[in-house]
């Protein structure tokens, strides 16, 4: 059981600041995701929690104890990486037993057997126990890697893009398996990914990182519907949010000389802004107030994603699958005035952001 707290953590490599004054508080039993693009500092943060990197500044607490000077083994955390790093000549069973057979642990073979039994049942790899790991598929190897973490019964599971090397279907099924596993173990998970779908679908909370800093911490619903700035707004959600430059006068939004539409006001904002509207909040319908051309149509099975062209602006809308439209056809569209986000045209900050 573990609560992890990072206090004003920074890490520099030479003159490069990888992590910049980061504060985090991860609750016991939480599935916490560090989300961001390459170079955001998320892996460095994870490695500092694991004890593989020393922070240049700041303190790391596990269960209220400062662990800055503790080595990785003393911290009792397990790290699962994208590359499986299993012993290829050993069987799955021996790979699972390996971390338990270290001399420091002095575990009896009977106890080791019990833990392997539990981990392999949990991960449904019992039938693979006597197989050599080089005979396993990618998904099976990643399950074994996770199993090797489980047998240690660590205080915290740290995972660095464990699903990235797997194909889409496998990622999809392992996503829910991992979430299910975490719920059953009740353990603290800190999970690093650049994939917003993984973050949204698994995380209890998400910290969105960019350039070594935390931009926003919140639940998946919060970062999706109440993003702190345009970076978070466009990083989370697929297809991406529409960001349109324009200006606001009263409750009338003018988008780059292309169209005007009302929004529901809740802040006294005037002048130049960037409007944000998600594709599912744009409606294509006869009789709607504005005209656009169809620039592109994507069939996503359950729905179609159409790209509308209004002047020089492109704007995506999610429409029901049965809607039949052709490229370059003229259509009419509307947006949900309650769902329009307002961002500062210069800083990109959400002008109506409410801190969680």
């Amino acid at each position: 059981m573990a609560r992890i707290r990072l206090e004003n953590i920074s890490k520099s490599f030479g003159s490069h600041v990888a992590v910049d004054k980061l504060d985090l508080d991860v609750a016991d039993g939480e599935f916490f995701v560090l989300l961001g693009p390459t170079g955001a500092g998320k892996t460095t943060t994870l490695r500092m929690i694991a004890g593989l990197e020393k922070p240049t500044e700041g303190a790391i607490h596990i269960n209220q104890v400062n662990v800055n000077d503790w080595g990785p083994a003393e911290r009792d955390v397990a790290l699962v990486l994208q590359q499986y790093s299993l012993y290829p000549r050993l069987t799955v069973r021996d790979n699972l037993a390996f971390p338990l057979r270290s001399r420091i642990r002095k575990m009896s073979e009977a106890d080791i057997g019990k833990r392997i039994d539990y981990a392999s049942k949990t991960l449904r790899i019992t039938h693979l126990l006597d197989r050599k790991t080089d005979r396993l598929s990618g998904g099976e190897m990643q399950r074994v890697s996770i199993g090797r973490a489980i047998v240690r019964e660590p205080q915290v599971f740290l995972m660095d893009e464990p699903l990235s090397a797997l194909d889409a279907k496998l990622r999809e099924s392992l996503r829910s398996e991992l979430k299910d596993l975490q719920m059953r173990l009740g353990a603290t998970f800190i999970f690093v990914t650049h994939d917003q779908v993984e973050a949204m679908t698994m995380g209890d909370r998400i910290a969105v990182l960019n350039k070594g800093r935390i931009v926003q911490v919140g639940t998946p619903r919060d970062v999706y519907s109440n993003p702190r700035d345009t970076f978070v707004a466009s990083f989370v959600g697929s297809p991406a949010i529409n960001l349109l430059p324009g200006s606001l006068a009263g409750d009338l939004a003018s988008v780059a000389q292309a169209f005007q539409m009302p929004i529901t006001r809740s802040a006294a904002v005037e002048g130049p802004v960037t409007f944000g509207i998600r594709p599912e909040d744009v409606e294509v319908a006869a009789g709607a107030p504005n005209e656009a051309r169809i620039h592109d149509v994507e069939n996503h099975g359950i729905e179609k994603i159409v790209t509308l062209r209004v002047g020089d602006n492109l704007m995506r809308a999610a429409v029901p699958a049965r809607v039949e439209v052709k490229v370059e056809e003229a259509v009419r569209f509307n947006w949900n005035p309650d769902k329009v986000m307002l961002f500062d045209a210069r800083t990109g900050l959400n002008l109506r952001h409410q801190a969680a």
Partner: protein, 368 residues
């Protein structure tokens, strides 16, 4: 005009039979996507059309003429690879000009063509840059541009955006589609990504194990998958598949899945009989075909919500009917939290029935 026809194509690599009697006609100006897992034969088929791979038997026809005897360079077909294959010491301009200069095109024609292709790909501002200074997306734009300058009869693309990040892939998909709309060259595109296939294709060719599984429009393969493989390869999250027993009960067709049972219209029984359905049947239903209610209503069965995956615009909720789990799609936040009791039914119009042993769809379509 560029119609590509494949007739009885077969190909082995040593003992491995990689393409098995593939027959297909790609119509002029059509955008066809070969979709399948790695090792299914899609890239080998594409390379055979390009002339980069020999075939064991069969005919490859371009506008009705066999071309399998022609060298790749003589086929008038352009190829775009995933790893851009640009000349690193050339500028973007020189990379684009290269295929034209190689055949002795006049200087002013080269210049005009390079600029017009550069414009349609939005890379005019990069003409003097070297590939090493470009982002992944721009490199692939240049690679595509280089394929287009010679105005080939057909364009073949092998996972051209597979190595780009998710956001960029979304943008590039739209660009590729627009380019095809404006240029109209017959295109064959290989990918293992079903979203890409659905988004781009006029028709999708689903392949597995060297065999064509289904050829159809995105709507056809999504709504009417020919077999279990296609049903599970297309669509995300994956279609629910469950072994089922079907019997008559209370004037309905009752479908039993382990601990759960649902009632579908009685006409299903007659349809199964007419199709001479085998005893081993599987029910398939996509998450959006599992209709969830917070209140108990006639025909709905109680379930316990397990994992809830928020995607932003919607949620995917795992519903437990005893030991059986079905995945449902709901509006965002519809089910409060794991452990909640909700009620669900299966939309008959979205129910698929498959012969479990052959995997083939029975082609049964129920009304609402």
């Amino acid at each position: 005009m560029a119609e590509i026809e494949l007739r009885h194509i077969d190909k082995h690599f040593g003992l491995v039979h990689v393409i098995k009697d593939v027959n297909l006609t790609v119509k002029d100006k059509e955008f066809v996507v070969f979709l399948g897992p790695s090792g299914c034969g899609k890239t080998t088929t594409l390379r055979a059309i390009a002339g980069l791979e020999e075939i064991d038997s069969g005919d490859i026809l371009l506008d009705g003429k066999p071309i399998q005897g022609l060298r790749a360079a003589d086929r008038d077909i352009a190829f775009v690879f995933q790893n851009y294959a640009l000349y690193p010491h050339f500028t973007v301009y020189e990379n684009l000009a290269f295929p034209l200069r190689a055949v002795g095109t006049a200087k002013d024609v080269v210049d005009k063509t390079v600029r017009s292709v550069g414009k349609s790909l939005g890379i005019l501002h990069l003409l003097n840059a070297r590939p090493s200074a470009l982002s992944g997306g721009d490199m692939q734009r240049v690679a595509i541009g280089r394929a287009l300058v010679r105005r080939p009869k057909a364009l073949l693309l092998d996972e051209p955006i597979g190595s780009l990040d998710a956001k960029l892939r979304e943008t590039m998909r739209i660009e590729l589609k627009r380019l095809h709309y404006e240029n109209g060259s017959t295109s064959i595109y290989v990918t293992h990504d079903q979203v890409e296939a659905m988004s781009l294709a006029d028709r999708i060719v689903v392949m597995n194990d060297g065999v064509l599984q289904q050829v159809g429009t995105p709507t056809e393969v999504y709504l009417y998958p020919a077999n279990l493989f296609v049903a599970q390869f297309i669509g995300s999250p994956v279609m629910n598949i469950a072994a089922t027993r079907i019997s008559e009960a209370d004037g309905s067709a009752r479908i039993a899945l382990d601990d759960a049972s649902f009632d579908l219209p009685r006409e299903l029984l007659g349809m199964l009989q007419q199709k001479q359905a085998a005893a081993d049947l599987s029910l398939g239903v996509r998450p959006e075909g599992v209709i969830v209610s917070r209140d108990d209503k006639p025909g709905y069965r109680p379930a316990e919500a397990h994992i809830i995956q928020p995607f932003g615009g919607f949620d995917i909720v795992d519903l437990k009917f005893g030991e059986k789990t079905l995945r449902a799609r709901t509006t965002s936040g519809f089910v409060d939290k794991p452990g909640a009791t909700v009620f669900a039914r299966i939309d008959p119009a979205q129910a698929h029935f498959f012969d479990t042993s052959s995997g083939a769809s029975l082609g049964i379509r129920l009304g609402n």
